[in-house]
Amino acid sequence: MSIEREGFSTSVLIPLIAIIGALIVNSILLLAVGVNPLFAYKSLLSGALGSTYGITESLVKATPLLLVSLSMTVAFKCNVWNIGAEGQMIIATIVVTWVTLAIGDRGGPLLLLLAMLVGFLGGAFWAFIPGLLKAKFEVNEVIVTLMMNYIATFLLSYLVHGPMMDPKAYGYPLSPVLPKSALLPKLVKGSRSHAGVLIALLCALLTYILLWKTPLGYYIRAVGLNPEAAYCAGINVFRSIIIAMILSGGLAGLAGMIEVCGVHRRLLDTPLSGGYGYLGIPVALVGRLHPLGVVLASLFFGTLFVGAEMMQRTTGIPTTLVYCIEGLMMLFLVSSEFITKRGRA
């Protein structure tokens, strides 16, 4: 049933080349502005891994990255370019906050499960719309998902400034704090790390099983490789695209649920750019759209983000450096793909 097999060289070498290439170009950049790159990378590493705080914080950042990049993996494998994880996360946080606040602690331990369910469904619904437009009318999903990110952002802004605003928040755009039973339990006392990371890892396993061990996963990948061929082979292309989008949106929704139930504990008026919904895209690609690779890539990038924050605090080198590294990595990734393909042909 295997329709694409990546050898060791492509699946491990390409991301490595991309990472090293990005770091080298980045070093040149650092040198150009008078910073010793070794010093910068050292403070980045020690910031992220030199303390319990750094390590737990890296996990906190890696968790939504993992879920978002899994979301991308499912969609991209079907050749649907879902750029809308940001919006899907936002809708999920809205629905989760609304439902858990409405039910309150009456829900008991079931409340957390319910939060997961509605988070998944909220994200899935927001992804279903562009999925349907793509599958039925061939509307460019990149643009629609992007537009829906903005719509979700404005909806969130309206809700936290209006109907969902905490009356006790002195007019700040915040919702009330979620009921206790909707919060994810802590993993390490005194840190922000939470059980969401276990949910994310479970999702990685489920995504692997879905994509490579079930007929549905086979259909999704077949449609992604060649929709015409898949159609001729009797695969329902329409259904595969819609299901891939629903699953992709659902995973992004879970990322939103974990952020609100594990980290923020209430709805905030978050700015659009800088969100995990976008940052998960390079993570998925560096992870070669494979759950195992994506797990490793999320840990890598989670560490990178935390390290960059610490680096900014100690050395004054701005965190935006990480986005440079991410961008460069993506450029190297697609370029080295071409070069290795050519080498073999």
Binding site: L29, V33, G34, V35, W81, I83, L133, F137, E138, V139, N140, V142, I143, V144, L146, M147, M148, Y150, I151, F154, L155, S157, Y158, H161, G162, L272, S273, G274, Y278, I281, P282, L285, G316, I317, P318, T320, L321, V322, Y323, C324, I325, E326, G327, L328, M329, M330, L331, L333, V334, S335, E337, F338, I339
Partner: protein, 312 residues
């Protein structure tokens, strides 16, 4: 009598602001029209605009010349678009991925360089930006004069570029080649059109205009650089191209619509009307999705949009 006067001032102010807000969108969208008509979608406009905004600011800050700033912003735009070209044309890589990479790169690099050069300051450095130039006679027309002919020079340049783009695309040999390459690169190639060259040239136009759109933000709208100051305008520009069905005039009207809603919501926000301004802000995005739905069935998009061309 006095009330009527206020209303007129308000309306003139609103439309005039709409045009100012529409200018960076229109500039970036015009560029994207060229690259998309040749078959290449560049999602990195946002990143290019940010780099254009930064370099425009730096050039003007260090030399005191707005022209140097503008030229630098165009130059960096062209360079970044050529990177996109190298990766999507030469390496035949996925255009979505390359575009997203450019976006992240431009976002990170512009913020990084700005911080490294100026450090953290309580008061951000500023430059003397573009002044408003009232066009003699024309600006004295009632209503229209104040709305259309009372702007900075980049706005006038945008008007001219909309007009020029339409002529180039529909009335010149070059424009015909661009559209042929976008519609059917193989056929164009057979007829002796250099597909790669046309695509690189369109990307250069695209990058230059996106860089200029960025410079508009830092040199005409604000006279300073702020990290992430584009606030998604690069992505909106791409949506506007779809809204405008790859036609310069229609795209310009799309930019005006987005600019108008932006200007209107700012006024409603300060006046405190009953409608939540966020719903007004959503409107253009919803309209864009609906437009896409209308466009999709008729297949008006360049047929080879997003597909790398492989010469056999």
């Amino acid at each position: 009598m006095s009330l009527k006067f206020i209303n007129q001032a308000l309306i003139v102010g609103l439309f005039s602001a709409a045009i100012r807000m529409a200018t960076p969108l229109a500039l970036a969208a015009l560029g994207e029209i060229f690259s998309e008509n040749s078959g290449i979608i560049n999602l990195g406009v946002e990143g290019i605009m940010l780099m254009g905004a930064l370099l425009g600011f730096l050039g003007t800050y260090f030399t005191g010349s707005l022209l140097v700033g503008v030229l630098l912003s165009i130059l960096i735009g062209i360079i970044m678009a050529l990177i996109h070209g190298l990766i999507t044309i030469r390496f035949m890589a996925n255009q979505v991925v390359s575009g997203m990479a450019l976006w992240l790169l431009g976002w990170g690099l512009s913020g990084f360089l700005y911080r490294m050069i100026f450090g953290v300051r309580t008061l951000p450095p500023t430059v003397k930006g573009f002044d408003t130039i009232s066009i003699p006679l024309l600006s004295e027309m009632p209503f229209l004069g104040a709305i259309l002919f009372n702007h900075n020079v980049l706005v006038y340049l945008m008007f001219i570029l909309v007009f020029l783009s339409s002529i180039v695309l529909y009335r010149t040999d070059f424009g015909l080649r661009i559209r042929a390459v976008g519609e059917n690169p193989k056929a164009a190639d057979t007829l002796g059109v250099d597909v790669y060259r046309i695509r690189y040239m369109c990307l250069m136009i695209e990058g230059g205009l996106a860089g200029l759109a960025g410079a508009y933000l830092s040199l005409a709208q604000l006279s300073m650089f702020i990290e992430g100051m584009t606030l998604g305008k690069g992505f909106i520009a791409i949506a506007i191209v779809y809204f405008g069905k790859w036609n310069p005039y229609r795209t310009f009207s799309g930019a005006l619509l987005f600019g108008f809603v932006d200007a209107l919501q700012k006024r409603l926000q300060t006046m405190g009307f009953g409608i939540p301004y966020q719903f007004l802000l959503m409107l253009p995005y919803i309209i864009t999705i609906l437009t896409l739905l209308g466009v999709a069935r008729k297949a008006e998009a360049p047929a080879s949009l997003g597909v790398p061309y492989r010469r056999e």
